[in-house]
């Protein structure tokens, strides 16, 4: 079986008003099924860029990004959308919830795009929010929730379609340390209890230690 995620000599180059910026310079990384990996590096080292490529939100300038052996650059946008919906669960630093939707509707959104029936969606959405200890916040709008609650809603949303891979980009970056810790516990549980493949992006050494495997990125490649 091919590795879940494989990056082969990946370059990502942005051209800004004639100047080329290399966000990634030959990044190679292999992640096996069920691994819990942290990707640590200073600001601007290319962590988010790498996450976006793995999450099919962007395509590499050079090199290959393989998901379960498939080159994402060869797939049509509709297949990429399906992978983003079913195989990957994203947790962002800024939570990225839809402000006009309730906590429950936010959690159900990924299922909606996969054509899951309303009944099944709501059932699963409720149980996920229950797992995040948010049963009493189902109908709340994002503006009515605290940072820790928002990130727990976002984690529930990432789990909606039971994806194999969870990508968490600085998930505690906007939280105080106690709240951040509980969020990290939840993410750790996804690895231990659900066997999810997890990549946790951080610039913080202590947070990186939550993972089973630690990688360090600098200037767009692993060190």
């Amino acid at each position: 079986m091919p590795p879940v995620i494989e990056l082969r000599d990946v370059w990502k180059t942005y051209r800004m008003s004639g100047v080329e910026v290399h966000a990634l310079r030959g990044l190679s990384l292999t992640v096996e099924q069920g691994e819990f990996l942290s990707l640590r590096g200073p600001s601007g080292s290319g962590k988010s860029t790498a996450m976006h490529l793995i999450g099919c939100l962007d395509l590499p300038s050079r090199g290959k990004v393989l998901l379960k052996g498939k080159d994402i650059a060869q797939l049509p946008e509709s297949s990429l959308a399906r992978i983003r919906g079913k195989t990957i669960g994203f947790v962002f630093q800024q939570f990225n919830l839809i402000p006009t939707l309730s906590a429950l509707d936010n959690v159900c959104l990924p299922m909606l795009f996969q054509g899951v029936s309303r009944e099944k969606r709501e059932q699963r959405g409720r149980s996920l929010l229950e797992r995040m200890s948010l049963s009493d916040r189902l109908r709340h709008l994002p503006a009515e929730l605290s940072g820790g609650q928002l990130q727990r809603v976002a984690i529930a949303r990432a789990l909606a379609n039971d994806p194999e891979v969870i990508l968490a980009d600085e998930p505690t970056g906007n939280l105080d340390s106690a709240t951040g810790k509980s969020v990290l516990e939840l993410i750790g549980n996804l690895h231990r209890e659900d066997g999810k493949t997890i990549i946790l992006v951080t610039h913080d050494q202590e947070i990186a230690r939550y993972a089973k495997r630690e990688e360090y990125i600098l200037d767009g490649r692993l060190r």
């Binding site: 976006h52 099919c56 939100l57 962007d58 399906r82 983003r84 079913k86 006009t100 939707l101 909606l112």
Partner: protein
């Protein structure tokens, strides 16, 4: 997916109520303009149709040519009437004399439109021209000092409503009010006061003049043939053609072509209003795409395909347009009814607008079409956004 998308779009709209309603308002104004204008023009068409039904197709009118209030133009005389009366195409020729005269009722003085007609034609007046008496009596067995009042003349000319049995002074001559006519639905007729020809001649100081000649065609004679005969008879005495011959067909044609112009203008205004509404939707949708770029990025990150995103935005445009269409149709008919009420208050009781189903469908349908067309471009733009770039917004 469709029903789910709908609820998604609705909660999006509910989350930004002011913007949503402002966009809806843009459509409402366009559709209301279209619907009210069309409803009123339809009502106008019916009113004119009703007028012609009363006029009848077996009549021809001859009157002096020119643009001026009726009764102020001269040119035709009693000799013309005699000449026309003798023509074999017609059963009779009735002359009228119209003008303004000083009236006095219970000591109050006012001006009014009087209409003199020869008493010997009173039977034809009732049978052929369908003039119905609402109260009192017609000229049936009237003496030569009788007047019959138009509905509005009776009600509006003087402080107090004129009553049957009372006296009315016309240019100083004492006359007897014997009846009031049913409303015609247009102020010109409803404000008139009918009285015997010799009274009118005396009041207006006009011995020979005629303002209008009413001709009744014999059975089997076409109005075109009648009109031609009139022309031939009057050619010698009126070489300058200072008169005009009107047949029902001609009149209807004239009105219809006028109405055609009016309706073309309305269609133009309607088109412009809809385009304005459409531009409003397009602007709102482009703003929404800009505004929600990040949301679109999030939706893409959780698995929305370009198609789903496009559907969401198209649906939003369609919902806004449908709401605007629905409210616009309601408001449009409201405005039309208001115009009807105003028209009725100023004497045009003939104008009635009806809520025609096709107009409802047209209003909402055009709004939806505009919405979908205007939403298409923004929806495509939203669908084509790159996920990372959208998320960065």
């Amino acid at each position: 997916m469709r029903a789910d998308a709908l609820s998604l779009v609705l909660s999006g709209l509910r989350g930004r109520p002011l913007r949503a309603w402002l966009t809806v308002l843009g459509v409402v104004i366009g559709v209301a303009a279209v619907v009210s204008l069309i409803a009123v023009s339809q009502g106008l068409k019916h009113a004119i149709g009703a007028q012609f039904e009363r006029f009848g197709t077996n009549r021809i009118e001859v009157m002096p040519r020119g643009f001026a209030p009726p009764g102020t133009l001269k040119g035709l005389t009693v000799r013309d009437v005699e000449r026309l009366d003798a023509l074999p195409e017609f059963e009779y020729a009735v002359p009228y004399l119209l003008g303004r005269a000083v009236l006095e009722y219970k000591g109050e003085v006012s001006g009014g439109n009087i209409m003199g007609f020869p008493l010997e034609y009173r039977k034809q007046l009732r049978d052929d021209f369908g003039i119905d008496i609402a109260r009192g009596q017609g000229f049936g067995d009237a003496t030569s000092d009788a007047v019959v009042l138009g509905d509005l003349a009776a009600k509006e000319l003087f402080e107090s409503e004129m009553r049957i049995g009372d006296n009315l002074l016309v240019a100083g001559r004492k006359l007897h009010i014997i009846g009031v006519m049913e409303p015609f639905g247009n102020p010109e007729d409803d404000y008139s006061i009918m009285l015997p020809m010799d009274v009118a001649r005396e009041a207006l100081g006009d011995e020979q003049g005629v303002s209008l000649i009413d001709l009744k065609l014999k059975k089997g004679v076409s109005s075109a043939a009648g009109a031609e005969s009139v022309q031939r008879a009057l050619d010698r005495t009126h070489p300058s053609e200072d008169y005009q011959v009107l047949t029902a067909e001609q009149l209807q044609e004239q009105f219809n072509s006028l109405l055609g112009v009016v309706q073309a203008i309305i269609v133009g205004i309607a088109g412009i209003s809809l385009v304005v509404g459409g531009v409003g939707i397009m602007n709102a949708m482009f703003t929404a795409v800009l505004d929600r770029t990040r949301e679109i990025g999030v939706m893409k990150a959780v698995g929305a395909s370009p198609r789903s995103i496009a559907i969401l935005f198209l649906m939003e445009a369609a919902i806004v347009a449908a709401a605007g269409g629905l409210l616009g149709v309601g408001l449009g008919f409201g405005i039309a009814l208001l115009i009807q009420a105003i028209a009725a208050a100023s004497g045009f009781g003939l104008l009635t607008v009806t809520m025609e189903p096709w107009l409802v469908i047209l209003g909402i349908g055009f709004a939806m079409l505009t919405g979908v067309l205007s939403g298409a471009l923004p929806a495509r733009q939203a669908a084509a956004l790159q996920p990372v770039e959208a998320l960065r917004a």
